[in-house]
């Protein structure tokens, strides 16, 4: 499979009144055609900003970005505004967290989809509308030809997210960036949307970047996972590896702090403290003030993302020795192990 997106050492800094916020500080990953990459992290970890930077949607005034984001070999960070507009909505589409606010309340949803078609396809309005209705049908909106004339407030949250997906996929992009697309939805609706995204990916071969705070969602749909903490990548691995052999103390903490449906857990693991301010992040490893395994080097030196000695696809940024890591990973997994029936 060809590489679709290659992000190298991406950095995005925002200038604010209080100083410079390093919202993304050295992030690298690759995504192959038709695959799904999950980016997990807590709020403020930089996962959304990473994707907005790739799309060129950060505020020009306050944000500066460095590094490279190669989309089919073309560096999006160097692309002109004109070129970015051609790519957005056509080759790369995006859907957002809150379907309630992501659609313009004063335009009919059909028109909002048509707008996206006419920006990139040289077709008549009538043809664009036909395609819009087809897209609505595809995402499971009943009576799509009539519902196209409705306004967003006439749809439920789940239906609006379907509309957003229809709008994103109408030009058959090769990459869909989904920023917490199910966070605002109820669990049964979330299942519907995830299923829909999955089947559309199967049908159209769209690659997906799924940003989420929910490790469960990642486990269900991602091929590869990036775990972000305080603007940097803690760990990056194929999904199976990440959950079977996590190598970073933050990942252990995250996995251990999850309450679980399928296991009787006596007491959750607690990561002490709160994530650091990105205005003045701690010296050395960003996680060191909260890390139970911290030693001197962690406070002085910033760990780079390197491959694990046993697996070149499994990258992590932690100075702990490999033996300790393996032992602690096993201990973490054992704390919520369930007998698989």
């Amino acid at each position: 499979m060809a590489t679709l997106l290659e992000v190298e050492d991406l950095r995005t800094y925002f200038t604010t009144d209080d100083g410079i916020v390093k919202a993304v500080d050295g992030v690298s990953f690759t995504l192959k055609e038709g695959k799904t990459l999950g980016i997990v992290g807590e709020s403020g970890s930089g996962k959304s900003v990473t994707c907005l930077t790739i799309m060129g949607l950060n505020s020009k005034k306050s944000a500066t970005s460095k590094g490279r984001a190669l989309f089919r070999g073309e560096d999006l960070l160097q692309a002109s505004n004109q070129r970015l507009r051609e790519i957005r909505g056509n080759d790369i589409a995006m859907i957002f967290q809150d379907p309630m606010t992501s659609l313009n309340p004063v335009h009919r949803i059909g028109d909002q989809i048509v707008e996206g078609i006419l920006l990139h396809r040289d077709v008549s309005k009538k043809e664009a509308r036909r395609r819009a209705i087809d897209a609505l049908k595809e995402v499971g909106i009943p009576r799509a030809d009539r519902r196209a004339d409705d306004y967003p407030h006439q749809f439920s949250g789940g239906m609006r997210q379907r509309v957003m997906i229809a709008m994103a996929l109408v030009n058959e992009p090769s990459l869909l960036i989904a920023d917490e697309p199910t966070t605002a939805l109820d669990v049964t609706t979330q299942a519907q949307i995830l299923e829909l995204m999955h089947s559309l990916q199967r049908d159209y071969g769209t690659a997906i970047v799924m940003i989420t705070h929910d490790l469960g969602v990642v486990a269900e749909i991602a091929d590869d996972v990036v775990v972000m903490y305080a603007a940097r990548i803690a760990e990056r691995a194929p999904v199976g590896k990440l959950f079977e052999e996590p190598l970073h103390p933050y990942t252990w903490g995250l996995l251990g702090s999850l309450p679980r449906l399928e296991a009787d857990i006596d007491r959750l693991v607690q990561i002490p403290g709160t994530p650091p301010s990105l205005l003045s992040p701690p010296r050395g490893c960003r996680f060191n003030p909260r890390c139970p395994y911290v030693f001197d080097r962690c406070k002085e030196e910033m760990p780079e993302l390197v491959a694990s000695p046993r697996d070149s696809e499994h990258l992590q940024s932690c100075f702990l020795d490999d033996v300790t890591k393996q032992r602690e990973a096993e201990r973490t997994l054992a704390s919520f192990a369930t007998e698989v029936p």
């Binding site: 807590e42 709020s43 299942a191 995830l194 705070h213 486990a219 309450p259 607690q270 002490p272």
Partner: protein, 346 residues
């Protein structure tokens, strides 16, 4: 011998929908909570799960008597409190406290933490200023905050710390029952674990009873002794936590459980989720019969849409309001759709 703290019988809360040019007359009602009954035992945590619009928050506000009941009876420690006046409620208010979802909105930004936590103590006249201050500092320490932060304002704290302030405030008057309305859903995973553990520790230390309302089934499983599943103003199923998650009997519970993404690719990808069709219907005109029947894979015409299912015993301390409870678990959608005996069990 189970010691009953709260008994809820036939609790109903309808919000009138009015129309009219000059004189508004009621034309319909949002049936937010409709004829539900359950009990809460001393020292236990009753988890309440359901999706938005299922009435779980309205139910909590009715129990707290923040909303007037349309009908039904609340019995707290043997005393009927459902019709008590504001004055008569006052001594009972200090026995039941509430923790809210949004740690940002539920604390007055212009008051200092000491005042916020101690307010209930002042209202209930529990001692001198110095004694109150001592108590507040003790409380801050109990919930894991620095007692010296007594004079700070809420905005100086992070989300998790604010939720700790909310907990300290609830604990101040030594309540017997704490109703937690989505207390961790605005928090990040790592902070959520801290708060959940804190709530568990406090329960052990002070013998508290919780009603814990959440939409996250994982969280409810972890914190609860018993779990109640609500759908559209009705109780679908009640059972002990482990029992409910291992052997759900109501098809809605089954669908909910199978919809939760499991943070383990081996387990998660092995199962096939039961994806429900459509959205939760409007509570103004809820469906006849079983409220779940339009979306239910086990729907049987002439039964499910004809009468409202009663709660029936389906196991030890396990009741489900369904005519065709599930026989085993886990199951696939096809298995769920198969009903062997299409006449109701009861």
């Amino acid at each position: 011998m189970v010691d009953e703290l709260l008994r809820v019988e036939n609790l109903t809360k309808h919000f009138p929908v009015s129309r009219g040019i000059v004189f508004q007359k009621q034309v319909a009602a949002v049936k937010a909570v409709d004829d539900i009954s359950f009990t809460v035992n001393r020292g236990e945590t009753l988890g309440v799960v359901g999706e938005s619009g299922c009435g779980k928050s309205t139910m909590a506000r009715c129990i707290m008597r923040l909303l007037d009941l349309t009908s039904g009876t609340l019995t707290f420690e043997g005393q009927n409190i459902s019709r008590l006046s504001r004055n008569e409620m006052r001594p009972i208010r200090r026995e039941m406290m509430m923790i809210f979802q949004d740690p940002y909105a539920s604390l007055n930004p212009r008051k200092r933490v000491g005042f916020i936590v101690g307010e209930a103590l002042v209202v209930h006249n529990t001692g001198t200023d110095a004694a109150i201050k001592r108590r507040v500092q003790e409380l801050l320490e109990v919930v894991g905050l620095n007692p010296e932060h007594y004079n700070r304002f809420p905005h100086e704290f992070s989300g998790g710390q604010r939720q700790r302030i909310g907990i300290a405030r609830a604990l101040a008057v030594n309540p017997k029952l704490i109703v937690c309305d989505e207390p961790v859903s605005a928090l990040d995973v790592s902070v959520q674990a801290q708060i959940l553990n804190l709530l568990k520790d406090l329960q052990k230390e002070f013998g508290l009873t919780y009603i814990f309302i959440a939409h996250d089934l994982n969280v409810v499983r972890y914190i609860s002794d018993r779990v109640m599943v609500m759908y559209l103003g009705k109780i679908a199923e009640v059972a002990g936590s482990a029992e409910l998650y291992a052997r759900p009997k109501h098809p809605y519970t089954g669908a909910l459980l199978s919809a939760v993404p499991i943070p383990d690719p081996r387990l998660g990808r092995a199962r096939k989720p039961i994806v429900l069709e459509g959205d939760v219907p409007n509570p103004i005109n809820p469906p006849d019969g079983c409220r779940f029947h339009p979306r239910c894979p086990r729907f049987q015409e002439g039964v499910c849409d004809a009468s409202i299912p009663e709660a029936v015993d389906v196991g030890t301390d396990h009741t489900a309001s369904c005519f065709f409870p599930l026989g085993h678990w886990p199951m696939t959608l096809e298995e769920m759709q198969r009903v062997d005996n299409p006449t109701p069990a009861s």
